[in-house]
């Protein structure tokens, strides 16, 4: 028994996959799919291989080509993730700097207070005796 194969081109329109054309040749179907995606009327294209087996009465289908407009535009988003990492690193450095400054201020103020206390003690000691 024969097994028949066809290649169906689907185009995504108004939220649905619409059948555009049917071919019996895979290369032609994929070539057509490529031509379609380059035209302004199509935003996504799929070529589906449909195999029908007479003996088993089974139909199997698989995607042999798919293309979506804007795929290239999505890639830079991944790059922007890298950028955000860089931003995160910069942010961490700033936080470290702030911590250092705060620590220095704390040391200076603590030193000032202790110096003041020492001076006060010295005055008290001299008055008492």
């Amino acid at each position: 028994m024969a097994k028949s194969v066809s290649f169906e081109i689907y185009s995504f329109k108004n939220g649905n996959w619409m059948l555009d054309s049917v071919h019996d040749d895979k290369n032609m179907a994929i070539h057509q799919g490529r031509m379609l995606i380059s035209s302004p009327h199509h935003i996504a294209i799929r070529v589906i291989e449909e195999s029908y087996d007479d003996a088993t009465d089974n139909t199997t289908s698989k995607i042999v080509y798919k293309e979506k407009k804007g795929e290239e535009e999505e890639k830079p988003k991944k790059k922007s993730k890298g950028k955000s990492k860089q931003k995160k690193v910069k942010g961490k450095k700033r936080k470290k700097k702030k911590k250092k400054v705060n620590f220095m201020l704390l040391v200076i103020s603590f030193g000032g207070i202790s110096l003041g206390l020492l001076a006060l003690l010295a005055i008290l000691m001299s008055e008492l005796g």
Partner: protein
């Protein structure tokens, strides 16, 4: 050839609608016109509206204005259009290849395209067909 004609069919489309017959035939089809035929599908049975000279020479003579059932199955035209009803129902272009025993005794390999066409009122009225072939090497 089939691919080139399909590109003309797509080129004649307004947005993504089925193109008008006049828009497709008005394009510079070059030598493709020798291998194309048009069926008028407005009646009960499609009739040949026009037939290219290569197909006229291969059993198509005298078929213009006649129903598709008159096309001999042992000639290229009769084989090329045998799936026209699928295109009529689905309203999409379909390409199909195959082989058959020609009237002259040779085995012929062919590739056929049938695509829907509208009339000026936007109604489905015609089918555009094209076929090319070669002898199968024994």
């Amino acid at each position: 050839m089939v691919h080139r004609l399909l590109m003309h069919w797509r080129g004649a489309q307004q947005s993504d609608q089925i193109p008008e017959m006049t828009a497709v035939l008005a394009r510079d089809l070059g030598e493709l016109v020798l291998d194309i035929y048009v069926l008028d599908i407005r009646g009960d049975e499609p009739v040949f509206e026009r037939i290219g000279s290569n197909l006229l020479a291969d059993g198509g003579k005298g078929l213009v204005g006649e129903p598709v059932s008159d096309a001999p199955k042992t000639m290229l035209l009769g084989q090329a259009l045998k799936y026209y009803s699928k295109v009529q129902v689905k309203q999409i272009p379909i390409t199909l290849g195959g082989e058959f025993e020609h009237d002259n005794g040779k085995t012929i390999l062919y590739r056929s395209l049938i695509a829907p066409l509208n009339n000026e009122d936007g109604e489905s009225a015609y089918l555009l067909g094209a076929v090319n072939c070669k002898e199968k090497e024994e």
